[in-house]
Amino acid sequence: MISSPVEFHRFTLPIDAVPARRFAYAADDLNPAYFDDALARRAGYERAIAPPMYVCSMFDHSAGPPEHELRGDGVAPVFFPDVVARDAALMGGGQVVEFLAPVYIGDTVEVVRSLVDRYRKASRHFGTLEFVVVESRVLDEDDRLLVRVVDTLATRR
């Protein structure tokens, strides 16, 4: 149990059209609201939006780190709090996402990631797992909360 959230990472994320639309293509989702301002306005948005899971999936916006600083599984250490063992295998346990306002192509957001809980639980497929719960708050330039994500990460050694 964690008594109060512990911030471990924050970063500025420009919502650029190319990576946001690459995310859409990678997910095989060709929603016109992601690609075309006029079609997005017809759907009631101000202009083109980022796919909802785009900001929920970005754990960092730096150029690095160099390869030798990555964990053995390839994950950048900054993606997760220090309590995640460096040699633990990682799997997504689940998410709770609140979408409070659209994230628009061309905006810039701040993503603040905090550790909020950790616990152990048995899994049918993988034995006993340690779970780490991370909250991401996606804020606009006025500090307005746009998206809140609570990620449960399952780890095993």
Partner: protein, 135 residues
């Protein structure tokens, strides 16, 4: 009559690679087959959870046309999904109620592979009943 919708997807190794690339995420279970199978014991490349949740978002955001607004998504990963597997994302309305010029719809959602639940959860969408203001 309960409204249900389904969306069939087959996450390919190419989509896994592109998703990892755009996220700048080098987690090897998603693109390195030898690592995924020989080191972590998976039978194939593991489909990342955010790709599965993207399928759910696609289903939900078109629930009643392009003006549908996704409000909340809550899901748990129950079983791993591997590249090349055909999965079905589904949603089933549980309640629909009017509120402030929109219908608030709560749904059960999930993703099944070969009839087995891989993802289960709930969602809420808003269906505007009038032409929405921008935003």
């Amino acid at each position: 009559m309960t409204t249900e919708r389904r969306l069939v997807k087959q996450p390919s190794t190419v989509s896994l690679f592109r998703m990892s690339a755009v996220m700048w995420n080098a987690h090897r279970v998603h693109f390195d087959l030898a690592y995924a199978t020989e080191v972590e014991g998976h039978p194939g490349l593991l489909v990342p959870a955010n790709l599965l949740s993207s399928y759910l978002c696609e289903l939900l955001m078109s629930w009643a046309g392009p003006t549908t607004r996704l409000v909340r998504l809550s899901f748990q990963n129950r079983a791993p999904v591997y590249a090349g597997t055909t999965v079905t994302a589904w949603g089933r309305e549980v309640t629909r109620a009017p509120a402030d010029g929109a219908d608030v719809v709560d749904l059960e959602i999930g993703i099944d592979r070969d009839g087995v639940p891989a993802v289960t959860g709930t969602a809420r969408v808003l269906l505007p009943r009038a032409a929405p203001a921008a935003g």
